[in-house]
């Protein structure tokens, strides 16, 4: 998996980033940045989080 062109980091809490795609509006991809090396386009672990869960996480 890799970050799509239109996706953007919405929020970052320490090493956890919430990435959103503008077409959806309900879900985030939650990724652990410590396992992700920018620019290398390596695979990273992601988890789907609803806005609800994001609000609770925050």
């Amino acid at each position: 998996m890799c970050i799509q062109l239109r996706e953007k980091i919405f929020c970052r809490i320490e090493n956890i980033a919430y990435i959103c795609s503008p077409e959806r509006g309900s879900y985030f991809k939650k990724i652990n940045l410590s396992k992700f090396i920018l620019g290398k386009n390596k695979e990273y672990e992601e988890e789907e989080r609803s806005v609800h869960e994001y609000m609770t996480d925050r």
Partner: protein, 418 residues
């Protein structure tokens, strides 16, 4: 449905978001669902009970045969003026009823009968029934006129009727209560101090409003005249045509003319008796139940209106509490339309869950009430579809204003909201 969701992934996502939000606000959702469920329970409960009664009573009428008709003094009317007029009518005497039977020479069975009381106690030794048994005085044609057949024993004979022998035909329920499974035939029972020998039990036909043949005792009309029937008792004449249905109106006219002449009415006089055809009785009865149904629907709708206001109130609070969430959704790409859709879906889902619970409870409670009063179990499919559609409407109406309010929130302000 899956095809629909494949074409509309955003809708699918909104349904999922709405469900998650309902689950995460459990207490609030449960309270709202209960409000809707109570409204729907009252609506479907009343309508189910009415459906069960209507079905049962129509069955009873059909069992009597739609071509049969009855001549009686009284009938039920919803109009006060009619009621006053009917109350003052002359009784149909035994003599008049007997004259009709002798002179009516059409191909038909003519039965004479009178309901003496609907509150007698039947005793046999130490056993006795509740004081709610119907005592009917009738002749040997009454059983056939009512489309009954004798299950155990036999019918009255002509000589038993004319000589007034102390014999009786006992309804199935009364026999079961008094003899508890033993044969009631040849046993002697006491009704208001008079002893009768049981000679027959008709087949069970089910009770109507706790009464009906099952809960009655029939005694010979001559015997009843000596012991139970006073001067004021009015007799009924039941006529069951033995031919085909063609020319029925002529038969009704002949019966009416004959009885008018027996009652010595002049051509200018209005008939002071009621010739009631069973099919007309069914339509009279339908008129009454339609009125009751309309009243029940209005009461149910008022309850549901209360529930709808409650749901709208809760949805408005929900929007207010979730301003930050709405802001976040707008920021990550949700359009105003999507926000509106989400809140509308939440409202409709809550309303429909309440509807399902309300329909199940309503059908069970309605049937329980109907069954206690002797009707059989029914599932009112049309009412269920009506309730489901009504709940969608309630969900949309209650959710619309909160949803529009949510969709019009300023995303930046909402995002900042804590």
């Amino acid at each position: 449905m899956s095809v629909f969701f494949r074409f509309s992934p955003l809708l699918r996502e909104n349904v999922s978001v709405a469900l998650k939000s309902i689950i995460s606000n459990r207490l609030r959702s449960i309270l709202t669902i209960i409000i809707i469920a109570i409204g729907i329970t009252s609506l479907t409960g009343i309508l189910t009970a009415i459906d069960a009664f209507t079905g049962n009573i129509e069955k009873s009428f059909e069992q009597m045969g739609t071509s049969s008709f009855e001549i009686s003094r009284l009938y039920y009317s919803t109009r006060n003026a009619d009621r006053e007029r009917i109350k003052n009518r002359r009784e149909i005497s035994f003599h008049q009823a007997k004259m009709f039977k002798e002179q009516f020479d059409e191909p038909a069975i003519v039965a004479l009968y009178a309901v003496i009381s609907d509150a007698v106690t039947v005793k046999c030794g130490a056993e006795s029934t509740s004081p709610n048994v119907m005592l009917v005085a009738a002749d040997e044609h009454y059983i056939e006129y009512n489309n009954l057949y004798i299950d155990k024993g036999r019918n009255f004979t002509g000589s038993e009727i004319s000589s007034g022998t102390f014999v009786c035909i006992m309804g199935d329920d009364v026999a079961k209560r008094l003899f508890k499974g033993e044969s009631p035939l040849e046993r002697v029972v006491t009704i208001s101090g008079v002893r009768f020998q049981v000679i027959g039990v008709p087949q069970s036909v089910g009770a109507t409003f706790g009464g009906g043949t099952d809960n009655s005792v029939i005694i010979p009309i001559q015997c009843a005249r000596g012991y139970f029937i006073g001067q004021n008792t009015s007799f009924n004449i039941g006529v069951k045509p033995s031919g085909t249905l063609t020319g029925m109106n002529v038969l009704y006219d002949k019966a009416e003319q004959l009885f008018r002449s027996i009652r010595r009415l002049s051509p200018a006089d209005e008939s002071d008796f009621r010739l009631s055809k069973n099919d007309a009785l069914i339509s009279d009865f339908k008129q009454i139940t339609d009125t009751v149904t309309a009243i029940a629907v209005v009461i149910g709708l008022i309850t549901l209106l209360g529930a709808a206001v409650g749901l709208m109130n809760i949805m408005l609070i929900s929007v207010k509490e979730r301003i930050a969430e709405i802001g976040t959704r707008r920021a990550i790409g949700a359009s105003a339309r999507m926000i509106k859709q989400q809140f509308l879906l939440e409202s409709v889902i809550i309303s429909e869950v309440g509807c399902v619970i309300g329909v199940i409870a309503g059908v069970l409670i309605g049937n329980a009430i109907a069954m206690v009063m002797g009707a059989s179990f029914v599932i009112p499919y049309f009412r269920i579809v009506f309730a489901v559609v009504l709940c969608i409407a309630v969900g949309v109406l209650s959710g619309y204003i909160p949803a529009v309010r949510a969709s019009k929130l300023d995303p930046i302000e909402s995002l900042r909201h804590e």
